[in-house]
Every structure is written in structure tokens, then in C-alpha cells.
Symmetry: C2
């Protein structure tokens, strides 16, 4: 069954259920419906279209989906839960969406810093990757990144790397949601030595995960300056045929804009528009250097944009025109980029930085409010990844990706406004419990699907190998 059909079916089923529920209301009051899970109590920050914030709220979950959001009293009256997460005194928010990562690169965290992008890539990252990136490396790095992301309340991430099929396996096993793009590029890389090999790999990869609840397999041409026009057209045709999303880096640096302009007589998004690359299945990371016309092209073609403020600062890339993108109606999400460039996968710092950076950059301290920053990391990210029918807010019918966040640490005391509190004061360490697709993957800071000690041990062993490989070159 296609995703569209499946969504329609679920929507119908939910309508039908609502009708039946309404008809049976008096009886239902006595016989509450059995559900898998209720997250009960706390301040429910829905991020829905009305931006409802429900004090002493609750969320009911059945079959991996949210079946109701309301006050604790309402939900208690309507549902009998097989399991309850007590969220009293905490915030209950939609799972955070990390819109741009290279998850196995967490194993290169801090390998090389304070360098320009070109030097960093060519002297450190590319040699380190050439000498170390195997499927085993990718699995270990993915586990490390997943564990860090879960601990920080990230429930969905959008990735680009090599051996992405292994990343998908690890992600599904950890119970995390991923839009995972196999990287294709015009030179030999660790998993595929030729373009045809990479396209065959991607074909199998996309076919394998079709219909999976957690994994959406995608194709990820590295960037318009590392993939030829012919290959970009091939990627577009592949996506049209398979329905696979396309994830790529666009307009990250001034150099890229200059090079593309020199080679193609147009700025990056205009060039991509001209070759028919733009589509509503595209996710463009960075989009730092854009003209007004390019912003309009993204909007007209339904392309999602993912903002990476900390990475763009650290590599001195520039400031993406996020307020302008939002005003134009482009779907904008938020990402950390790989931990090798940021150097963490912490969406809380990214939200805080996004809000502050655009105030500074625009000279207007009212730009990107705390509420807007939280939106970038939730519903905005869902829209940018074209997944907003399923995730990004706490609403009936959406997948049950729910995060319980403590609100009473010293650095969060006192509390006046929930959005300000979450964006400007809350840290990843305040996240307590994480539910993805209705499954508890972290409970009171204990990871349930990953072995933290083993992950660290493997990471340290690989770190030794990486250091030796670079020392020995």
C-alpha cells in the first residue's frame, strides 16, 4: 500500500472511530477505551495549528499513534491505559526533529576544529573517512549518535552518509525515526566505488525500506558542486520513479555559489531549477546564500530547507535567511549537521542559537521568537522533511513521538513562559523520557534500546584506530 493510501486509510479509520465514539459516548463514559499508553500530567505543548498549550494535560497512544490529546481529566475519563508515564511537573512536547546529520561522523567529533571548510574536509575528514569508514564504523557511529540524540529528545533525524542501509538497520533497531539518504557523489567513497554501483545500492536500499513505519529511505546527492548535471538529472528521475525523497547540501558557502555560478551561469538554486531538479520531495540543508528569486523558487517547488546555525557559524559559512524563508512560506527545519562540525547532536542548543543568531543578524530582537525556534525543531522540521502528516506536533492521528522534559532544574528556575523556558533555559540533560512510535526508548534518562557502555567502548576503540590512521599518513 502506498504511503498516501495508508494515510487516507488511517484518517478514515480515525474519523470512523470518532463517529462511533460520539455515538457511544454515554456508554464510553463507563467503559473507557483500552489504549497502550497515556502520558499523563504536565504541560502539553502541542505545536498544533492553534499552538495549544494544555496545563495538566495528557496524550493517549494506541498502535504507535496519538489517539487523543487533552486535559488529564478528559483523557482519564475516556481511556484506560495499559501503561502510564507520569509527566506531572514536566513538559510534554513533540519529539524533536534533527533535520540534517551525518550520524556516523559522531566518531570524528573533535577530530579537527577551527579550520576552514576546505582544509577541514581535505586534510582531515576525507582522509579519515577513506582510511576508516567501513560498515562496522558506520554501525558504531550510528549507535553513538542515536544514543546521544535520544538522550536529547530527538525522535526523528534526516541523515546523509555512506552504508546508509546499515544506518537504517541500526536506527530501526534503536526504535528511532529516520529519513535516511544514501550519499551519492562523483568520486569513489567507502561503500561504492562508481556512480552505477551507488545507484544500484540506492535502488535496493529504497526498495527494501518501502512502507517501514520508522525508516524512510532517500537518495542524497552530496551537493550540486560534487555531482554532475547528468547525475543530478538521474537522481531526479530516480526519485520521480520511486517516490524517494532527495536530500542534499545547497548554497552552504560563498565559494560554492561562486563555483556554481562560474560553471553553470546561475546561482545554485536557479541552476537546480533550470535542470528540473526541484520538487516537493527535496530537502535542502544549509541554504545559506540565497537570492530573493531562489527563496521564491524553493517556495514554488515545495522544497524543504534545513537551517544549521551552529555548523554555519563554526565553519564561518554565513547566516541563512531564515526570517525571509519563513515569510516566503518555505518550510524550514533545524539541524545540527554532523558532530564532526558542530560538535554535538544537541537540538536544544541549536534552537537557542537559531533564535539568538537571527536577532543579531537582522538587528531585530523580535525575530525568531522562542515559540518560532521550537517550531523550527518540531512542526517546521516535519514540514521541511515532508513528514508533517505524521510527525511534528501532538495531534490526534499523528505518530506517537513524544518527549517528556523536566522543568525544575536550577537553571530552569523559576518559570514564566513555557516557550522561553524550553528554548532559552532548558538543556538536553533535562529530557527525561522519550517515546517514538508509541515505544518508550528512554525512561527517566535510562536508554532502553541501546547499550550505552558498549557504545562508548566501541567508540573509544575506533578513536584509537582513527588517530593511528592519521598519524601514520
Amino acid at each position: 500500500m502506498s504511503r498516501q493510501l495508508l494515510r487516507l486509510f488511517v484518517a478514515c479509520a480515525l474519523c470512523l472511530q470518532a463517529v462511533l465514539f460520539a455515538a457511544a459516548a454515554p456508554a464510553a463514559a463507563q467503559r473507557p477505551r483500552r489504549v497502550d499508553l497515556v502520558v499523563s500530567g504536565g504541560t502539553v505543548v502541542t505545536m498544533d495549528a492553534h499552538r495549544r498549550v494544555i496545563e495538566d494535560g495528557a496524550v493517549a497512544v494506541e498502535g504507535g499513534r496519538i489517539v487523543a490529546v487533552g486535559t488529564r481529566g478528559e483523557i482519564a475519563g475516556r481511556f484506560a491505559a495499559r501503561a502510564v508515564i507520569d509527566a506531572r511537573g514536566a513538559a510534554v512536547i513533540p519529539g524533536l526533529i534533527n533535520g540534517h546529520t551525518h550520524v556516523p561522523m559522531s566518531l570524528f567529533r573533535g577530530l579537527a576544529d577551527d579550520l576552514d571548510l576546505n582544509e577541514w574536509l581535505t586534510k582531515y575528514i576525507f582522509p579519515a573517512e577513506a582510511k576508516n569508514v567501513t560498515e562496522e564504523f558506520v554501525r558504531a557511529g550510528t549507535q553513538l549518535g542515536l544514543a546521544e540524540m535520544i538522550r536529547g529528545g530527538t525522535t526523528t533525524y534526516c541523515d546523509m552518509y555512506y552504508f546508509e542501509d546499515a544506518i537504517a538497520e541500526e536506527t530501526e533497531r534503536a526504535g528511532v525515526r529516520g529519513l535516511l539518504g544514501e550519499t551519492v557523489i562523483d568520486f569513489p567513497v567507502p561503500d561504492n566505488k562508481t556512480w552505477p554501483d551507488a545507484m544500484r545500492y540506492t535502488e535496493r536500499f529504497v526498495a527494501r525500506w518501502k512502507g517501514n513505519k520508522l525508516i524512510t529511505a532517500a537518495i542524497a546527492p552530496h551537493a550540486p558542486y560534487t555531482v554532475s548535471e547528468a547525475h543530478l538529472r538521474e537522481v531526479r528521475a530516480f526519485s520521480d520513479r520511486t517516490g524517494a525523497p532527495v536530500v542534499t547540501h545547497v548554497a552552504e558557502t560563498r565559494k560554492e555559489v561562486a563555483d556554481i555560478t562560474r560553471d553553470h551561469g546561475a546561482s545554485p538554486v536557479e541552476y537546480l531549477a533550470r535542470i528540473g531538479f526541484l520538487s516537493p520531495r527535496d530537502v535542502f540543508a544549509h541554504t545559506v546564500h540565497l537570492t530573493e528569486n531562489e527563496i521564491n523558487l524553493l517556495k514554488q517547488n515545495g522544497v524543504g530547507s534545513v537551517h544549521n546555525p551552529q555548523s554555519n557559524m563554526k565553519l564561518a559559512s554565513g547566516v541563512a535567511p531564515v526570517p525571509q524563508l519563513l515569510r516566503a512560506g518555505v518550510a524550514v527545519g533545524l539541524g545540527t549537521d554532523g558532530a564532526a562540525s558542530n560538535n554535538d547532536l544537541d537540538m536544544w542548543e541549536e534552537m537557542d542559537t537559531a533564535a539568538k543568531l537571527h536577532k543579531l543578524s537582522s538587528g531585530d530582537p523580535k525575530v525568531i521568537t522562542a515559540e518560532e525556534a521550537l517550531a523550527l525543531a518540531t512542526i517546521g522540521g516535519a514540514r521541511a522533511l515532508h513528514m508533517d502528516a505524521d510527525i511534528g506536533s501532538l495531534e490526534e492521528g499523528k505518530r506517537a513521538d513524544i518527549v517528556v522534559v523536566g522543568l525544575d532544574a536550577l537553571h530552569q528556575t523559576p518559570r514564566y513562559n513555557i516557550y522561553s523556558h524550553l528554548v532559552y533555559a532548558t538543556k538536553a540533560s533535562d529530557v527525561r523520557t522519550v517515546v517514538i512510535e508509541g515505544r518508550v526508548v528512554m525512561r527517566e534518562r535510562r536508554l532502553l534500546t541501546l547499550d550505552e557502555a558498549l557504545i562508548k567502548q566501541k567508540a573509544r576503540a575506533i578513536r584509537e584506530r582513527v588517530s593511528r590512521s592519521l598519524a601514520g599518513k
Copy 2:
């Protein structure tokens, strides 16, 4: 005894001790010297002039001062410790120095955000202060801020607020080091209704704390645009007579520069130079908008500068010319500003942001390296506060302000470079144990000098009052 004499005495005593130790070396090998405390094992990041990093190092402490820094083996051979802090696997760093705070304002954390400085101050902060700030409020807010700072590894802070004498009492009781400035300003404020009252208060305040090991009492004229020229001259004379440091806000916003230029025919630092205000006891917070001449004036006059990147971003004030200040030889520290504007007292985020912001702002990703960012928060801050003879690095003879930082959280795995690791990956929540003046104030994340539950309870009660006071206006 004056500070200078005291320092001389301590230096002589240490020389003498070294001579005696050398003479008695063979005997000493058998009879190790008794000391109060050894912090043993771990990566000791000294931040001394040679930027020594000692793997498996140790720090010996006696009478509140560091008596030796070396390898674990060396220190174990020379000293017998009454108490040992096991820092194996952790980093041992100089206590962080938060160079600019308004500590009781932690009670206004998140009261009002996403506003311009003027609206924020006049519509929210000033009314909230007028209606709520009493000595009781200041004590509760200070305790809250101190607890947050200790938990994040801050051992010294430079403050400006009202009832600063009460802040000093709370700070001493908590065992934290403070350069504490009583705010004087040309309008009635919560503690003093007239300028003469404020000056009398400050006179008593400075006299009272003279010679205190932890507290340095200072005078803090709010800013050159809120204190008249005559009063600024009076502050200068007061500082010259008493030796009290002078803490103030300078060149924070474009509006300030325009106003000062309009009223005095010179930019802020030039104006202050002209009226003889600049001295090597001055600490200027913000210094965002400076000409090259003003940077030279700061250097020539030995004025310290404190950079507040997150506050300057959030209020859209601008980017301080930190690389230029450092190149000119100005002592630059790092601060959070008050938690009402930032919204926390987290020096780890401030270091991370400082490094990233200046890369972006200058377009050069090599500017403000991780090592330099850590320096801003330690030895740089000590210099900016004119306290570098006593604090800012782990060196024999300096006061024993030592922080043990865990290095093995998931978000810190793996580790390649200690500076990158501390600045780009480590969080406040990784701080484990904090020693100030040789006294353990937090052990394995448990506060020993403050009652966290009581602090939170008081903060919540005050929050209710603050909200009511603003609602009722």
C-alpha cells in the same frame, strides 16, 4: 595588610618553601608534606603561560592555595593529603570566571523575551524591579544564581546589582568568589533613593569586605548614559581613594554610542578617557561598539573588557570586536550577563558561542579557537577582572579554584583534543566537583554549601509575587 603586600608575602613564602624543599629533598622523599587536599588523576588543563596539559596529573592544595601541580606520581611522592578527590578519567581545569552578571535577576529568568533592550527594560524589567526587589529578593536570587553557577563550574563571578552587600554575604556563605559591584545610578533604585545614599552605602560596603579572601567589593556605576559626568568623576575618585574596582556597562548598543556622541561629542570610551575615568581597576562589560582608538585607550589604561556573546545576540546589540581587542593586548573575559537576558548562567554555552560567533562574524573559522575560548573563561577573565595574580590558572601560589569535569558522557564520546572537547562538546551538566579557595562546594554534583530544594521553593514563591505585581499594574 594591602593586597599587594599580601601577594608579595605569599610569593616569598612559596619561594622559601621551594628552597627548603629542594634542600630537604632526600628526607622529603620519605616524609611527604601534609596538605589539605589533592585532586588526583585526570587531564590537568592548567591554562598557565605554557598552556601545560598534564595527563594523569594532580593538584595539591594547602590553606586555600595551590602548592603544586604535576603528574599524579610526582604529587603522590611529595605530598600526603588529608583529603583526595579522585579525578581519574576527568578533566581538571581552573574554575570558570563569569565576568558579568546581575545575579539576583535569575528570579526574572524568562519574564520577558524577544524584545528590544529598551522595551524589555522599561516595560518589564524596571517595573518588575521597582515592585519586587527587596533585600529578601536579592538574597533568594543570589542563592539561586550561585547554585546554578557552582553546578556549571563557575568559581568566580563579577556582579552588578542592588543590595550588593547582601549578595556578598550570600556569596561568602556559599563559598564562592565574587568581584561584587554595588550599582550606583542617577535615579532612585530599590536600595538607595539618592546618589549620596548610594555612595554612603558603597563606602560602608567596600570598607566592610576589605581583605576578605572571597569577596572583592567594588563600585558599579550603571553606564555612562545613566550616570552623569560629575558622578562618574566622583566614582573615579572613590576608587582611587579606596582601591575598589569599578565595574560598568560600556558601548553595549548603537543607541548608547549615538546618545553619548550627541551629549558629549565623543564615543563612550573616548568620553570616559577625557573625563579621566579609565584606570587599571576598571572592568567594562560588553564593549560591543568600539573604534580602533577606543580599543587602544582600553589597552593603554589597563581596562578589562568582558564579552557577553549570548546576551549581545539575544538583544541584537552587535558583535564585540574580541579578536581585535585580543590582538591589541586588552584583557578580555567572558560573561553570561543576567539570567533575565540570556537566560542562564552557563559559561560552557558562552564559550561555545564565543568561538562560533567570531568565526562567523570575521568570516575566518580559525579565529577564537577552542583553546582561546577556554582562556577567555579562565585566565582571560582573571586578567579582565585584574585578579590574575590569584586566579584563572592552575599554578603554584594561586588560589585553589579547581573544577573536575567528566569527559565520558555520550555527547563527549570519543575524545581527540581536550580543548575542543571542553569547549565544543562539554556541557554544564558534565561538571562533577567544584573546589573554591580549597573548599569543596560541590562533590559529584551534590551542592555542599547551598540547599537546592529550599532555593527552588523560595524562587517559585517569589515568581508568583512577581507575576501578580506585573498583572496588577
